[in-house]
């Protein structure tokens, strides 16, 4: 892909990824955030966060399945946007929902598994966002950096678990995300297994 193509693609991702935020700002501006605005904003931000997280996790499977690798160039951008929305989601909970009531929030984090895993997922994403620059990749070295960034799998699983656990048992939506995530991780696992078994065959034929 040409440099100009890549730039156009990234601009498009910026625009698309900012739509949910623009939608909320517009809603706030026009006073159109439902009769329970804090709940609405929290949910919209959470929903956007999980979608972007899954989008980030979809790029490698796309390459594995279809052999197209240009989507990988969007990984950092999508990952950072996912982190951005998770951070806003968390901030709304702290500032608007609980108004810095640290005792209640601490209680919630300790007592309610869906919040515990949500906060854990957020904390796991912090070092990934912090080491997302090219400079940091160089400093850590490719192998270490890659190992560190495998934490996104854990964050993805915890994010989906967060949704499954917070939603009422009869809701379908969280399970849709669970199936999507399982598919994405399954494709990677399958590709890794194939690579490993190919190596075994090579080793075996040598011995």
């Amino acid at each position: 892909m040409t440099a100009r193509g890549r730039a156009a693609l990234k601009t498009a991702v910026w625009l698309v990824a900012l739509v949910p935020l623009a939608h909320l700002v517009w809603g706030w501006w026009t006073d159109d955030l439902t009769v329970n605005p804090i709940e609405y904003v929290t949910r919209q931000l959470g929903e956007t966060a999980i979608r972007l997280l899954l989008a980030t996790l979809a790029l490698t499977p796309i390459r594995l399945l279809f052999g197209v690798s240009w989507p990988i160039t969007l990984r950092r951008l999508l990952g950072l946007f996912a982190f951005f929305y998770v951070t806003l989601h968390f901030a709304v909970w702290i500032v608007l929902d609980h108004f810095f009531d640290w005792r209640t929030m601490g209680d919630d984090i300790a007592k309610r598994p869906w919040i515990t895993v949500g906060v854990t997922a957020f904390l796991l994403l912090v070092p990934l966002a912090a080491t997302s620059t090219t400079g940091m990749i160089k400093r850590l070295g490719g192998a270490t950096w890659r190992r560190l960034h495998q934490l996104i799998y854990v964050a993805g699983v915890l994010g989906v678990l967060h949704y499954i656990w917070l939603a009422k048992k009869v809701l379908v939506q969280p399970w849709v995300y669970a199936v999507l995530l399982a598919t994405l991780l399954g494709i990677r696992a399958w590709a890794t297994a194939r690579k490993l078994s190919a190596r075994w065959i090579v080793l075996g034929s040598r011995g």
Binding site: T30, T34, V35, I38, V95, H98, F99, W165, K169, V170
Partner: protein
């Protein structure tokens, strides 16, 4: 149309929230038009329903705006989203309507809803409504004590419980249509229940209207119960059957998630729902959380129903 926050918020509160948000987001420059967007509330839909206010049952807090109480609803027969009931409510046909009162009673009878309306004088009572999802409203209901109807039916000595059943008809309740493996669905029809002494309690209201008008479909037309000291889902809507029994009735949410929703489901700030604290609540139209009160503030009237009971076990 989505409801505006200003439609449900007294303008003073609304302004302070706006200012607060504006400050927080450093966008204060354009806040000046806030007051002018507070439109006058349109009159409630549905026919006017005359009722005598009962001064013994009122609360000091201002009632929630009708527009909020009629558009932010949990009524899973119409769908799982809060806006589904008001959007799809027109599919329900509240006339003609019959409700069967039977089970362990001396005089079982199927009532026409018009008869129900005339069975006892209609009162207006302003009650607090506390949802298990930790939000609350203040609603002026119209109805009369359920005990008036039950006394007519004459409960037999063995009767210990009352079971309420909501209409099951996928033509009128779109979300009752079969779904993929039953996903996103409760076990229809929706049933709820009370102990007989709870059902006979003067607070338990057989309800046919709100805000001076006939009950909107999305709020459970043509008749429902309202039990203000229990979480909202106990107050079953669009009733077709009221049955007295000697065994504890199975209730819809208890069947779906027994660890989360018990038979009693009294509002209790000291017994958390597994997924959230019940210690505080957000009053619709307000910004900050409020403390939740024991039995939703009705403790002096209902606490005696539960003396000697472990409310943590009987949640």
């Amino acid at each position: 149309m989505r409801l505006r926050y200003s439609d449900v918020t007294p303008s003073t509160l609304y302004l302070s929230r706006r200012e607060l948000m504006a400050g927080a987001l450093a966008l204060a420059a354009v806040g000046g038009d806030a007051a002018s967007t507070t439109a006058a509330a349109p009159a409630p839909a549905g026919a006017a329903l005359p009722a005598t206010p009962n001064p013994a049952y009122r609360v000091d807090d201002a009632p929630t705006k009708f527009e909020a109480a009629s558009t932010y609803n949990n009524f899973y027969e119409f769908g799982v989203n809060k806006e589904d009931p008001s959007r799809l409510g027109h599919t329900l046909k509240p006339r003609p309507w019959h409700v069967q009162v039977d089970g362990l009673v001396a005089r079982p009878k199927t009532f026409d809803v018009e008869e129900i309306l005339k069975l006892a004088p209609l009162e207006e009572r302003i009650y607090l409504l506390r949802c298990v999802e930790a939000w609350s409203m203040v609603i002026p209901w119209i109805g009369y004590p359920l005990s008036a109807l039950l006394k007519q039916a004459q409960p037999r000595p063995g009767a210990k419980y009352v079971e309420f059943t909501t209409l099951k008809d996928p033509e009128q309740f779109p979300a009752q249509k079969p779904t993929f493996f039953g996903l996103g669905s409760l076990d229809w029809p929706y049933t709820e229940g009370l102990r007989l002494d709870e059902a006979m309690h003067p607070l338990t209201l057989l309800t046919v209207g709100m805000y001076g008008h006939v009950l909107p479909n999305q709020n459970g037309a043509p008749l429902r119960v309202v039990i203000p000291w229990k979480y909202g889902f106990k107050s079953a809507k669009s009733l077709v059957r009221i049955r007295l029994t000697d065994t504890e009735p199975k209730t819809a949410w208890n069947k779906a998630a027994p660890q989360e929703y018990g038979f009693y489901s009294n509002v209790n700030p000291n017994v958390d729902h597994p997924r959230w604290s019940q210690g505080t609540e957000r009053r619709i139209g307000e910004f900050r959380r409020r403390k939740t009160l024991m039995f939703n503030g009705y403790a002096d009237q209902v606490a005696s129903l539960y003396t000697g009971m472990d409310l943590k076990k009987n949640y």
